[in-house]
Symmetry: C2
Subunit: 209 residues, 2 copies
């Protein structure tokens, strides 16, 4: 039984780690697992794990452990990844093409169905099983397939305009790799991944230590 | 004059965005810039910009604006990227090889000097100007070059052991792309980039909206 409440971002992130652990255990043929077995690999404490699950009601049986398959499905349901989500990727540069082949997305039922670029040398090609279409077709393809999620891996200069266009086509959530803040309507969800800035903040900490 | 105080993570992140903006303005030949010119592109408010800078003392002149080159150098000094930092990359899979070519790091004086892998088909190759060495040579190379920062782009299964080894060779900061929590001594800095989990948390928000 899931309680319909908001959960902290960090909890959601850990849930996705538990999910990966459960999937791994399932692949190894494990049916029942203790909280230690589920979390040990992740380096998260069993106490934290139990606390996180308590948001959604109890799952495990004391002394028996967790049914791997059942818990996996419950967490997928909580996270919304019990169904396949179609995603577009915009910008097939070096990073974008690496993302096309990134298996981590597929694990979560996140499926890149099409990629867009404006480079005639790339348009029409199929990379990692995903067709690269002309960015000018984005409107038609996104609307037709009712796609709600986009990965934006274009240079900073292009990100501002493109993000607005994507939203106007119906995109509601953007995973943004361009190093700028996107300004979009309040009902649009944006998650920023800025690798250089992450690395640079490590330098900052190192320097001060 | 820099005050020697800790600054919030978010401020450090914005400083790195300002830095990119200042570099861009410098390339365009701009000598003096207003806070609006520096922040407009980033979609950060001028007020936020002035507040962030106020941590370190005043830089701009009222009515005149900021000297682009001077402010760039000051921020580099604050962030520690006024000198080149040597970095190793461990794991030249799809993501790792994209990171080898990622220009965002170079902009911050973050220089990947060598990459490691255990795949005989990759060892000895030079990709993006960076030599791929056998992981068995990591100890010698990291120690000899006194490298403090590593990018870890290996599968989850390998990350736990490898991170410990890197630390034992002298690495003090790790940018971790593997989807597990690394458990390392308190004096080691770790920054996690988990793209699938970011995307998955967007799905979670979408589903609840």
């Amino acid at each position: 039984m899931l309680k319909k409440i908001g959960i902290p971002q960090e909890t959601a992130r850990r849930l996705s780690l538990y999910l990966r652990s459960l999937r791994r255990l399932g692949q190894q043929g494990v049916d029942l697992a203790s909280s230690e077995e589920i979390t040990g690999f992740l380096n998260i404490s069993p106490a934290q794990f139990r606390k996180d699950l308590s948001y959604f009601g109890g799952f495990g049986k004391r002394g028996v452990g967790y049914e791997v398959k059942v818990l996996r499905k419950e967490i997928e349901k909580i996270l919304g990844t019990d169904v396949i989500w179609k995603i577009v990727l915009v910008g097939v540069g070096k990073l974008g093409s690496a993302l096309l082949g990134y298996r981590g997305f597929v694990e979560f039922n996140l499926q890149i169905v099409v990629a867009f670029d404006n480079d005639p040398g790339k348009i029409g090609k199929i990379w990692e099983g995903i067709k690269i279409e002309d960015i000018s077709k984005a409107k038609k393809i996104i609307k037709k397939n009712k796609i709600k999620i986009a990965i934006l891996s274009v240079p900073a200069q292009a990100a501002k305009e493109l993000s607005k266009e994507l939203v106007s086509y119906g995109v509601k959530a953007i995973l943004n790799f361009a190093p700028i803040n996107l300004v979009l309507p309040k009902n649009i969800f944006v998650s920023n991944v800025d690798m250089a800035s992450e690395l640079e903040s490590l330098v900052y900490k190192l320097k001060r230590s």
